[in-house]
């Protein structure tokens, strides 16, 4: 049995579509129900939906053999897993944003509000800027508007939320997309199944730029 953790939501549904197209379908998953786990006994597959930020935890601890997680989560939590493939979907950018009129004053410590402490810290360390991290769990855009922080480090998809709140992207840190990950021990003991999934998904991503 191969356990597959998918991120709940639109991205997860798209990812399941790619799995199904590769021959790893599980029709039960499409039925309306409150079930948490879906099995295809014949193909020895078991799917489950989890919070997107938890996928890497399930995979690193072996509760799932494979999963799909955003690069942002992988960079932030550095789970001990193999990252086998860039699915080239769920694309967005990790960026620094601030109110449109912002100018960085290098004499002062920069206050950075973010959900992604590690990514923010590593980025500013790489450019040698002294910062003060303010960890928030949501509504990051609010922080600079209320003077809680000077800038934010967050995921930017279309930029609409930023624009509507008078914020602007000042620097792009890195591109983000969904990645296929696998548990290291599972890759030893269930190699054939994991490689088959990778091949199936690779064929679909190759058509994308």
């Amino acid at each position: 049995m191969l356990n597959i953790a998918l991120p709940k939501g639109r991205l997860g549904e798209k990812v399941y579509g790619m799995f199904a197209l590769s021959g790893f379908e599980c029709p039960a998953i499409l039925e309306e129900s409150r079930k948490l786990i879906f099995e295809n006994g014949e193909k020895e597959l078991r799917y489950f939906w989890v919070k997107p930020s938890d996928v890497a935890v399930y995979v690193a601890r072996g509760a799932a053999d494979v999963g799909v997680a955003g690069k942002d989560i992988l960079l932030e939590h550095v789970p001990d897993v193999y990252e086998l493939l860039d699915l080239k979907i769920g694309r967005c950018r990790m960026a620094v944003a601030a109110p449109a009129g912002f100018r960085d004053d290098p004499r002062r410590k920069l206050r950075v509000a973010t959900k992604f402490d590690r990514i923010a810290r590593e980025y500013y360390a790489s450019i040698g800027r002294d910062i003060d991290i303010i960890h928030l769990n949501g509504s990051i855009e609010l922080a600079p508007l209320l003077g809680l922080s000077d800038v934010i480090v967050d995921i930017v998809e279309t930029g609409t939320t930023l624009r509507e709140n008078g914020l602007k992207v000042f620097a792009e840190i890195l591109p983000i997309s969904a990645r296929l990950i696998t548990n290291k021990a599972s890759y030893e003991f269930k190699r054939e199944a994991v490689d088959a999934i990778r091949r199936g998904l690779l064929a679909q991503t190759e058509e994308r730029p």
């Binding site: 690193a60 072996g62 193999y82 493939l85 290291k184 030893e188 003991f189």
Partner: protein, 368 residues
């Protein structure tokens, strides 16, 4: 299984098996203090799995550390000897941060070190002992073998800056081919060199499948020959089935060189064994000997052995004020001597389970 073994936890049983395995091959036990001077670790922080060390000041004002690692202490303990290879094993608890909560944990660890003028046999011996250690834990286990000289040669040939090399090595460790490709492309590495590295990282599996590829890639000939010889020795020892060549094993190149390896057992999600040749660490510590060793992490192993005892005791013996303590004691000893786990209480303790519950009555004593 004798009763003493029965009461041991899975972890303790494995520890016992590993110790007797290492002693069979002439490894002597090394015992160490719970703490060492902090300086030993401060100078070699990158060698440690987690750089956080629990420290305290002792009564002389020296900064001490609860040991986060055993290898550094063993290296310091053994002097350079030209006449013999020093073979030591240990069974210690180490203290370091682990998991996502970043709190300190006490982690039981067993391992061995082989220090001195190493030859091909010493390396093969340590590798076969690593494989046997995995077999002590589970029948389904795998030992992944890699060679850092090969990785260093292929990454070096890319001609990219040191910072990019580090990122590329991280990609190799995560089998992350897509980012490896884009890093190589962005830093202007040659196409042929990039392709050679990609093929190396993609190739992982049984030695018979991977060795032919190594012969056609621009790998250092001595390293390939060393791997070939080790594979031959492994197969002759009847352990070939569990060996894989996998170049995602990349211990820190500042300390390790040559052969590095990692072991997995089915049912444990992380590697349970890790080791390699660490002549570079020896050099850093001012030593001329070669060294190779490995550690087995025992903290996750309890998971793979299901708990067999579903009860807290075989017999719960209930007594009241009328019971004479001498007679009760005699009854308890009688039951224990028959190999029963027996617990004496006045009332049934909540939340515990027993094979059977008996009421102690003196007249019937000795009959149960």
């Amino acid at each position: 299984m004798n009763p003493e073994t029965l009461v041991m936890s899975a972890e303790e049983q494995i520890q016992l098996r590993l110790r007797s395995l290492y002693q069979q091959y002439g490894y002597a036990q090394y015992r160490m203090n719970k703490f060492e001077e902090y300086d030993l670790y401060a100078g070699n922080k990158d060698f440690l799995i987690s750089e956080n060390v629990l420290t305290f000041t002792d009564l002389n004002g020296r900064l001490m550390a609860l040991k986060p690692d055993v290898t550094l202490s063993i290296v310091r303990f053994t002097g350079d000897r030209a006449d013999a290879v020093q073979k030591l094993y240990y069974n210690e608890n180490v203290y370091r941060t682990a998991g996502t909560d970043r709190s300190f944990r006490e982690i039981p660890q067993t391992g061995l070190e082989c220090i001195g003028p190493l030859d091909g046999y010493c390396v093969l011996e340590v590798l076969t002992l690593a494989a046997e250690s995995l077999k002590c834990i589970s029948r389904r286990s795998v030992l992944e073998l890699s060679h850092l000289d090969i990785i260093a040669a292929l990454v070096g040939a890319l001609g990219v800056p040191a910072e990019t090399q580090k990122q590329i090595i991280r990609c190799i460790g995560g089998k992350n081919l897509h980012e490896l490709q884009s890093l190589c492309r962005a830093s202007g590495a040659g196409e042929g060199e990039t392709e050679a590295l990609e093929r190396l990282v993609s190739a992982s599996g049984k030695p018979g499948e991977v060795l032919p590829l190594l012969r056609v890639l621009p790998c250092p000939a001595e390293a390939v020959a060393e791997l070939e010889k080790l594979v031959e020795g492994f197969e002759a020892a009847g352990l070939g089935e569990m060996l894989r060549l996998d170049f995602s094993v990349i211990n820190d190149m500042q300390y390790y060189n040559g052969i590095v390896f990692r072991g997995y057992v089915e049912g444990v999600p992380t590697g349970v064994l890790s080791g390699g040749r660490y002549d570079r660490l020896m050099e850093k510590m001012g030593r001329s000997s070669g060294a190779i060793g490995f550690a087995v992490y025992l903290d996750e192993l309890d998971r793979i052995v299901p708990r067999t005892d579903s009860t807290d005791a075989d017999v719960l013996l209930l007594y009241d004020d009328s019971a004479d303590s001498t007679a009760l004691c005699r009854e308890m000893r009688l039951l224990a001597a028959r190999g029963r786990r027996v617990l004496a209480q006045r009332t049934v303790p909540q939340g515990m389970r027993f094979g059977e519950i008996r009421h102690f009555r003196e007249k019937e004593a000795g009959t149960c």
